[in-house]
Point group: D2
Chain length 230, copies 4
Amino acid sequence: MSQLIQQLLDNNREWVQEKLAVDQDYFNRTADGQHPKILWIGCSDSRVPPDQLTKTNPGEIFVHRNIANLVVQTDMNMLSVLQYSVEVLKVEHVIVCGHYGCGGVRAALGTHQYGLIDNWLRQIKDTINFYWELVKDLDETAREKRIVELNVVEQVYNLGKTNIIRNAWQSTGKPFLHGWVYDVKTGLVTEHTPAIHDDAGIDQICKYAASQINLKVRPANQYTSVDSLL
Amino acid sequence: MSQLIQQLLDNNREWVQEKLAVDQDYFNRTADGQHPKILWIGCSDSRVPPDQLTKTNPGEIFVHRNIANLVVQTDMNMLSVLQYSVEVLKVEHVIVCGHYGCGGVRAALGTHQYGLIDNWLRQIKDTINFYWELVKDLDETAREKRIVELNVVEQVYNLGKTNIIRNAWQSTGKPFLHGWVYDVKTGLVTEHTPAIHDDAGIDQICKYAASQINLKVRPANQYTSVDSLL
Amino acid sequence: MSQLIQQLLDNNREWVQEKLAVDQDYFNRTADGQHPKILWIGCSDSRVPPDQLTKTNPGEIFVHRNIANLVVQTDMNMLSVLQYSVEVLKVEHVIVCGHYGCGGVRAALGTHQYGLIDNWLRQIKDTINFYWELVKDLDETAREKRIVELNVVEQVYNLGKTNIIRNAWQSTGKPFLHGWVYDVKTGLVTEHTPAIHDDAGIDQICKYAASQINLKVRPANQYTSVDSLL
Amino acid sequence: MSQLIQQLLDNNREWVQEKLAVDQDYFNRTADGQHPKILWIGCSDSRVPPDQLTKTNPGEIFVHRNIANLVVQTDMNMLSVLQYSVEVLKVEHVIVCGHYGCGGVRAALGTHQYGLIDNWLRQIKDTINFYWELVKDLDETAREKRIVELNVVEQVYNLGKTNIIRNAWQSTGKPFLHGWVYDVKTGLVTEHTPAIHDDAGIDQICKYAASQINLKVRPANQYTSVDSLL
């Protein structure tokens, strides 16, 4: 067997011994079921383990992790996590946590093709396009950090527009949505949205509400409908 | 058996007889394979059958139809159709055809929840939000028509941003992308984009390029990163 | 403009004239809305236009077409079509129509990689694996035809296991599900399932119910759990 | 601010202090990039945090977690994680880790509808159907445990059938695939597949290869094609 895998298995035995040494009933108590109060939607990046950086125990955080912590509104994988945690487990908070140094955001800012994953990352390119005026004059590092932050805000917005969240708000006033960014250079998380639990909160972070979109006038040509609009 | 189903089966026999009466080899000629030059991405709406309204024969148009003719960039269903038709069949044109009176667009303009499909239609709500200044003062009918047109332009843009299309352009200069709208009241199709086969063409219909997005200044508060951006 | 595209646009004008010549109110009557009784889930193949081969008019068939007419149970694209047509339009029949000479089935039977689409076609490989004993001794043409037929039966089964269909059955006893195969060599459609509108019907086409799966005993080794099962 | 959220933020500050107290360069060293050797595909369940139960540090495990640790072959979310970790990060191992007491498996074994998530869990129902003869006589607890184990084996099989994994095997002989189950009652993980890195390995866990499927003969009726097959 691979040494690495053997090491993980050995570590697991060791961990169990440590836990039982402190508390004989440790596993018995959680075996019956889970009652997490938090859903974490984070990046798959190996440097951002949600339980460690929040010093939480098994049982406290329900977790979905994908490339660049995206909330894609037609993604049955994420929607299933969201529905189960909100409607069945009744979590009280949903945290979307991005992080500086995100490979997905970096890829979206560049032009190199990576294959299938490029389809997944397209949404970030739209965020970059929308906010281009804001970030175009920044140096590369600052620009990437801004897009990481804006990407998190976008995902919180996306969550707040799902029926799952809206119906939960209607009936219980929960969960609260939070947009966080983890800094791999310092270990610290910072908040990038207020705690949101209603439409007013979503409006506060809505890029359409927060901006003024002036459509340029174009010279008339054969594509009448487009022209009259754009 | 249901009368309706029996009718369809009878019609099918009749259709075969009619075809063979005119041309004994009709089916033999197409049986070997297909060589369509067109991919049609249209709405599932029963009133918009692509072959009839273009008077084309079996074998001429490769077809994908979904609710509101959407090109969702993480949708494996549509991406598979696109990849197969562009890379294997080497179609020369991709037509996205929307239509006035689209139930999906109407649903996206309203507030009623329809269930699972609401997740699918979220993208149209984003289009509405982006262009709200443009359509807010229109009467209901005119607004819906504008959104139908803008939705088609968006989907052509989405196509032009896929690697499948970009790589095809790089190597062959094809396919050409077209945005059409079908009018159920007149039976006529109209064009709403130029024929696009390169980045310059995509830029022409890009909502970010075609608009000027001014981000409003907000009073400082605890969410520093968001404030400094928005 | 491309000659082909101009031709389609010219054809469209001609088609409108023809329709109006016969019936001045042709388009006015359908403009108000659609009331299709049928949802068609068919292949994108250009040679299989549902309305032509059933001689139906615009307004009669709601249509979804994808590669190899697949019903993937986590596919938001297809599920949205299904939900809208069953719950909002209240269609009375859902027809899954495959066809001989299907490029998707052929690809699944081979070993060549086509890229992204291979992920889409994996389900057909599972069907081939399940029925391998049945088809392995057939010549290539007969095997492909059998898999086309079995693939259609599978998709009808998949439909019958969705909540959308099950809930509709519970409340209205509809829609009826049908599995059809179109023969590109003859133009004829044939039925490959009964008309199904309840669990008993689904059981009739269930491959698990229709087969007897004998699990082989394996020699014990370190993977105890697997061994005791397999 | 919610007390719970404040607690998490306080914990984070505390965690950073602890890390820096032991190693001033702790964060500096990982900030440059990640080099994980492992991709973990696990359940979202809050009781199964991969890094804790394997005592690994940030930077060691790339993580995807969804409901019931499923590998759905058309799921762009999971496929993107897989492609990025295998092709860009070049992980050497992919571990699919299920766990006893899985709410998703329990839901799939029952008949209660949970909504959108039921579409996600359909695949587990197929696993149950396939292995029904094997598990039908077990008591409820034992049956659920068996299905948890078999579900993990299925997902490893699904991984081994993706082009991403197959192409990596072809060019590098890696990654190794592993199927694990975590026992929430004991804290221990056990292996349920060998370490697989080629087709021979996949054949060993293939349910079609491991079983003998005898197709029952059915009485002839009007659905000739189905009858002759089933």
